[in-house]
């Protein structure tokens, strides 16, 4: 199965959810539940197609762009609508499609809303487009596409028990990230004007040739700032906790599982390979912020009272590992970043599903009001929460561990971080203890303890079915990391200067 | 031939007077007179400038090779300006008339309610009016 077949796959993957969203938007007669089922079906087809795409890509080799499809769009800007899939993007596309199915499935029971499904599908389409875009500007357009639907999700369906809070959180989310991406746009334009092309594959091949070190540094700073807001990197992260806290379960899952991935994907796909010299200057700072974020967010979690906010803050810590992996500029670190990216997507999505289910029952996400004694009151939800927490603290054998290990390993042997590489690695590793501390605190307050009377129903079969794929994925990735690591092992060399040789 | 500086100074003085008129007066008609002064300052400048040889100031040092526009641009421009000024005054007086009909005065201070920082500003005047009645 070599050659050029299946070029229709990627355009269909991108356009199918978007078209589905458009149709659902335009047909107001559908009942909300039916709309959610249609969304699930579209998500399912997307997932199947992305599995097919992943298979084809694997078959032809993850090391280079497969399934390329391109057509002119705005030739005056050199913008081509060109898509492709390789080992870096394939897992992310799969994750996005999976989460699309699960969120839509979730919506078939929990407060279905036709327009919410529209938003979910738009986010899905936009994210897949971002992950497959092979043109810088197209990447940017796709990157921005997810903003507005997400803004709607937070602002309209957010937890509105306090007047004006959803609107505030949504506005903060969208304004913060839009400001960041506007800055990133400057960097992207700079790259395009200086190199004369916006073709990512071409730019990666050049690897910064023809760009002076200064230009690269400026562009890297601009692009990294934009992506760091989205990731989010300490200290640009303060939009995330309110957004997660207010967003409905669907929104939180998408935010954690899809949106945050865009930022780190951008770092790996754009910043590192296209601006190697610039990133070499930026990397120590990036690493420093990443490590600070790990510790900072962990400490903040230790005293956080709101469970959703806590999960959000823990995302900041997790993304700190991803950023550290990127900043290390080593194959191992990059692999770790990509692994941690996927792992965080799976685990935090699971956690948000669980927390959402708890919140639905107790109408609060405050730790004191949710607990204690979950293990006796709602055993199934309790165990799911425990599983999520244990995965979140990076237990070896579960998905998150590999990302953290590789990120730390990358940082340890990184020459790009200079003298600070080993201190960074050690601090990051110490961050895993803090992670354990706050997760155990959550379990201690929530899961353990003497249950109080006033029982809520345990997880329904529907909820369990929604969460099970994520549990299985967490275990699967944790125990058998080979395939995912294999997918990225070859391609990260192509993304690093000099094939990523570690001196 | 008088020195170029004289008309220029005169034009500056006229412009200054015009600006002062526009700024200092609150009576719409007097403001318009100031505006006329300003426009005529420009006219004076144009006509004075057209006395220069072809190429303007830039060509003063270079004696030869300058191309002269056959349409005598300075003067014709002045005629355009006079026409524009006339049209301007026509429109302006119509507006002043409208103002007088609406408020019974031509003082500019009488109509400030659209300014967001003015004392008489209301966000939705029509609704306010309707509610007031």
């Amino acid at each position: 199965m070599t050659g050029t077949g299946y070029t229709w796959l990627l355009p269909v993957l991108v356009l199918l959810p978007l078209a589905g969203a458009l149709v659902l938007l335009a047909v107001p007669l559908l009942s909300d539940r039916l709309a959610a089922w249609i969304g699930t079906a579209i998500g399912g087809v997307t997932l199947l197609l992305s599995l097919l795409a992943a298979f084809v890509t694997w078959d032809r080799g993850f090391g280079r762009m497969q399934l390329q499809a391109r057509t002119d769009w705005i030739s005056a800007l050199g913008l081509e609508a060109s898509l492709g899939l390789d080992g870096v993007s394939t897992p992310l596309v799969l994750l996005t499609a999976l989460l699309a199915v699960l969120t839509c499935l979730h919506l078939t029971r929990a407060e279905p809303d036709r327009l919410l499904v529209v938003c979910v599908l738009t986010v899905t389409g936009g994210a897949i487009a971002t992950f497959t875009a092979l043109d810088l500007l197209l990447f940017f357009v796709a990157f921005e596409t997810v903003l507005i639907p997400m803004w709607f999700v937070i602002g309209v369906w957010g937890d509105g028990r306090q007047e004006g809070q959803p609107a505030n959180a949504a506005a903060r989310f969208v304004l913060y990230t839009a400001a960041g991406s506007a800055v990133m746009l400057l960097g992207i334009i700079l790259v395009i004007t200086r190199t004369g092309t916006s073709d990512i594959t071409e730019l990666i091949q050049r690897g910064g040739a023809g760009l002076s070190a200064t230009t690269q540094t400026v562009a890297a700073v601009l692009i990294v700032i934009g992506l760091a807001v989205k990731t989010p990197m300490w200290p640009l992260h303060t939009w995330l906790p309110p957004a997660h806290t207010i967003a409905p379960t669907t929104g939180s899952v998408l935010l954690a599982g899809v949106l945050l991935k865009l930022g780190t994907y951008g770092l790996v796909r754009v910043a590192v390979p296209i601006l190697p010299a610039g990133m070499a200057n930026v990397a120590p700072w990036l690493g420093g912020f990443a490590v600070t974020g790990i510790v900072w967010a962990g400490l903040a979690c230790l005293v956080e009272r709101d469970l959703k906010r806590l999960v959000a803050l823990s995302s900041v810590a997790h993304m700190g590992f991803v950023l550290l992996g990127v900043a290390s500029m080593t194959p191992t670190g990059l692999q770790g970043a990509l692994f941690a990216n996927i792992a965080h997507g799976v685990v935090s999505a699971l956690l948000f599903f669980v927390v959402g289910a708890l919140k639905d029952r107790q109408h609060s996400s405050d730790l004191q009001q949710l607990g204690p004694g979950l293990r006796d009151r709602m055993p199934r939800l309790g165990w799911l929460l425990t599983f999520g927490a244990v995965a979140g603290l990076g237990l070896p054998g579960l998905a998150v561990f590999w990302g953290e290990l590789l990120a730390v390993a990358g940082a340890w042997q990184s020459s790009g971080l200079g003298m600070l590489n080993r201190p960074f690695a050690v601090i990051a590793a110490a961050g895993t203890v803090i992670a354990a501390a706050y997760w155990l605190r959550v379990l201690r307050v929530l899961w353990q303890g003497r249950p109080e009377p006033g029982q809520g129903p345990d997880a329904t079969r529907h909820e369990t079915v929604t969460m099970m794929p994520l549990v299985l994925a967490t275990v699967g990735l944790g125990l058998v990391p080979g395939p995912l690591l294999g997918a990225t092992a070859g391609v990260v060399r192509l993304l690093l200067p000099g094939g990523g040789a570690v001196p | 031939m008088i020195h170029l500086l004289g008309p220029l100074v005169l034009a500056s003085v006229l412009a200054g007077l015009g600006v002062y008129g526009i700024l200092a007066r609150r009576n719409a008609v007097l403001v318009l007179i100031g505006a006329e002064l300003l426009l005529n300052a420009a006219n004076l400048l144009l006509v004075a400038a057209s006395t220069l040889p072809a190429g303007g100031l830039a060509a003063l040092g270079q004696a030869t090779g300058q191309v002269q526009d056959p349409l005598i641009p300075g003067q014709s421009m002045a005629i355009f300006v006079i026409t524009i000024a006339a049209a301007e005054i026509g429109v302006a007086l119509a507006i002043v008339l409208l103002l007088f009909r609406a408020r019974g005065t031509v003082e500019l201070t009488a109509v400030q309610e659209l300014g967001e920082a003015s004392a008489t500003y209301t966000e939705t005047p029509q609704t306010a009016k309707a509610n007031g009645q």
Partner: protein, 625 residues
């Protein structure tokens, strides 16, 4: 065949855990017992096969993972060391699972549910994880098992999570071991970077052939040592173990006495060639072990709680094993064969596993009878439950190292190794030897004290003998066999125990000291003091009971600063970082309001702005030329 046996030893308990959770509630006990029984059979088969066919270095389990330029094979390995330890682990696990079926009879009350299904599955999961640690052919795979064990320990210590003390102990146990485990993670990282491999066999080979850079080796070994110290509850990361006694007693027997806490020693034994390249690190390990040995034994002396007493004795005994492997570099053993050098530690590991599990399970029976773990509530076991008292006594004699019980032989092997090192003239050897001998005395004292309180003393119970279920008694007999007969093993030692040498001198001294100490403790009641601990000054009692106040030190130095820092961070998050974000709202509002002030509505004022603007930009433009 060996491959299948090793795989089964790991996978059967894992499968038991999964099935125990997924199938009917009433099958949970069956799955649990079947799983560990299967593991035991597999382990015995493995031992036999390994002894005849030789070791197998690579058994595919989880595929391989490509990290950067190196490939990590997540494979198992099987050799005599793993097989022997596996047998011990599976045996104890089986005993504990059988014991637990009776220990957790019924559903419990709403206030104190037994949660047997979760318990049994967790114990199965623990067994699988321990098997994974034992069989891991790669450090990363070992790390997976290592931390899953920690998780199981956390879940089981906090099993009765309705008790606040259990919750606190569970968190403490996990966090302290995790702190040590950073060392293991970083060691993996260091080895990935420095040695280019994490395969244990490969590392040992490279270390033996001096292919690993000195810096890498020392760093890695020190980091590994941190993990060992954490997991094996050695000073200064030992404080979690006594608290972990909040867990159900069978769990204490399995995890916090026989298996998990000795994983650290196992790791050192497993990677001894690597450790031998960094003698300095081993010396540090020996120092920590000596401190733990004596300190824990002293603390055990004054405990008022039977389980805590046993916990401190565990720390002390594990310290023996650690000390035994840590003096390895100072011993002059002809070939320098790492297997032989590790033998004393491994031997003590095995015998300790048997007698300590026996002790804990017996203690569980006592607690079951008395309904309390406090020593003050016990007494007169000899009169009410004589067979149980005998079993308990066997365990105590093993612990005290009184010949001919199992503990004697292994402990003397340890002392023999220390003496060998001491003869080689190193201070480490002397230190371990002195500490070991001192500890023998202390151990004898507290073992005798335990006996005199629990078995003798005044009967606190009603005269009607409390009946013990067979499922609780049978495992005791099962464990008593190796506790008594461990010495027999030394007549035909397996290859892994070949390096064992018992020096007659130390052996006789040790035996005499142990017997004297036990006798002194036993005689104490007759001499007027019911409990030799009370013979100590009150001040000393408090200090020892408190284990030298080390907990408080940690609380002051670590816990409080961290929480203080966390509150600072939370405040800074809100008042510094987010303040800038929040400030944009008011700032823009104020700016907008200020700018609006110009909109006076006066037409000529607007014209004025035109003039002003024109003049300003004209001047600016002229300046720019």
């Amino acid at each position: 065949m060996t491959e299948s046996a090793a795989l089964l030893a790991v996978l059967l308990p894992a499968a038991a855990a999964v099935f125990g959770l997924l199938t009917k509630r009433s099958w949970a006990a069956d799955w649990a017992v079947l799983g560990s029984a299967g593991a035991l059979i597999a382990a015995i088969a493995e031992l036999t096969l390994v002894s005849t066919d030789g070791p197998v270095s690579s058994i595919g389990l989880l595929g391989s993972a490509q990290l950067g330029s190196i490939t990590i094979g997540l494979d198992l390995r099987s050799d005599q060391l793993s097989a022997v330890v596996a047998v011990m682990v599976a045996l104890v696990a089986l005993c504990v699972q059988i014991y637990s079926t009776a220990y957790f009879q019924g559903e419990g009350t709403a206030e104190t549910p037994t949660r047997y299904r979760a318990y049994a599955a967790t114990v199965s999961m623990f067994t699988a994880a321990m098997m994974l640690v034992i069989h891991a052919g790669d450090l990363v795979l070992l790390l997976i098992g290592w931390e899953v064990m920690g998780l199981a320990s956390y879940l089981l210590v906090g099993h009765h999570s309705e008790r606040a003390a259990a919750r606190a102990a569970a968190v403490k146990a996990f966090l302290i071991t995790r702190t040590g485990d950073i060392g293991l993670v970083l060691a993996v990282v260091v080895l990935i970077a420095g040695a280019g491999t994490t395969s244990i066999a490969e590392l040992n080979r490279a270390a033996a052939e001096n292919e690993i850079g000195h810096g890498t080796a020392v760093t890695a070994v020190l980091l590994l040592l941190a993990a060992v110290v954490g997991k094996s509850a050695q000073f200064p990361l030992h404080t979690w173990l006594p608290d972990a006694m909040e867990g159900p007693t069978p769990v204490s027997a399995l995890i916090h006495a026989a298996t998990m806490v000795v994983a650290g020693v196992f790791l050192v034994a497993r990677m001894l060639p690597l450790f031998l390249t960094a003698p300095g690190a081993l010396q540090i390990g020996a120092v920590l072990a000596s401190v733990s040995m004596v300190g824990a034994a002293l603390a055990a002396l004054a405990q008022t709680d039977l389980k805590r007493l046993l916990a401190y004795s565990t720390i002390s005994q594990v310290a023996y094993m650690l000390a035994a492997v840590c003096v390895a570099s100072d011993r002059e053993l002809g070939s320098g064969d790492p297997v032989g050098l590790a033998a004393p530690g491994v031997a003590h590991l095995l015998s300790h596993g048997a007698f300590k599990a026996l002790l804990f399970l017996a203690a569980g029976c006592v607690v079951h009878i008395v309904g309390s773990t406090a020593l003050a509530d016990m007494g007169g076991l000899w009169r009410t439950h004589r067979s149980l008292a005998v079993l308990f006594g066997i365990g105590l004699l093993g612990l005290a190292g009184v010949p001919p019980f199992g503990g004697f032989w292994s402990k003397e092997a340890v002392l023999g190794a220390a003496e060998e090192a001491a003869h080689a003239g190193t201070w480490v050897g002397w230190m371990v030897l002195v500490a070991g001998v001192a500890t023998i005395v202390l151990t004898g004292l507290y073992a005798g004290r335990a006996w005199s309180i629990v078995a003798m003393g005044r009967t606190q119970l009603s005269p009607a003998p409390h009946h013990l279920p067979a499922a609780m008694v049978f495992p005791l007999y099962l464990l008593a066999v190796p506790s008594v007969a461990f010495g027999v093993l030394l007549l035909w030692p397996p290859e892994v125990l070949h390096g064992l040498h018992i020096q007659p001198g130390t052996a006789i001294t040790g035996a005499l000291l142990a017997i004297c100490a036990v006798a002194a403790a036993l005689a104490a009641p007759r001499l007027g003091t019911a409990d030799i601990a009370t013979a100590l000054p009150a001040r000393a009692q408090t200090v020892l009971l408190d284990a030298f106040g080390f907990d408080r030190v940690i609380r002051v130095l670590v816990v409080r600063p961290v929480f203080w820092l966390a509150t600072v961070v939370k405040a800074a998050e809100h008042d510094v970082i987010d303040a800038y974000v929040r400030a944009t709202g008011p700032t823009t509002t104020i700016a907008g309001k200020l700018l609006r002030l110009a909109q006076t509505g006066l037409a000529s004022a607007y014209a004025a702005w035109v003039f002003v603007g024109a003049v300003v930009i004209t001047v600016a433009g002229m300046a720019l030329v």
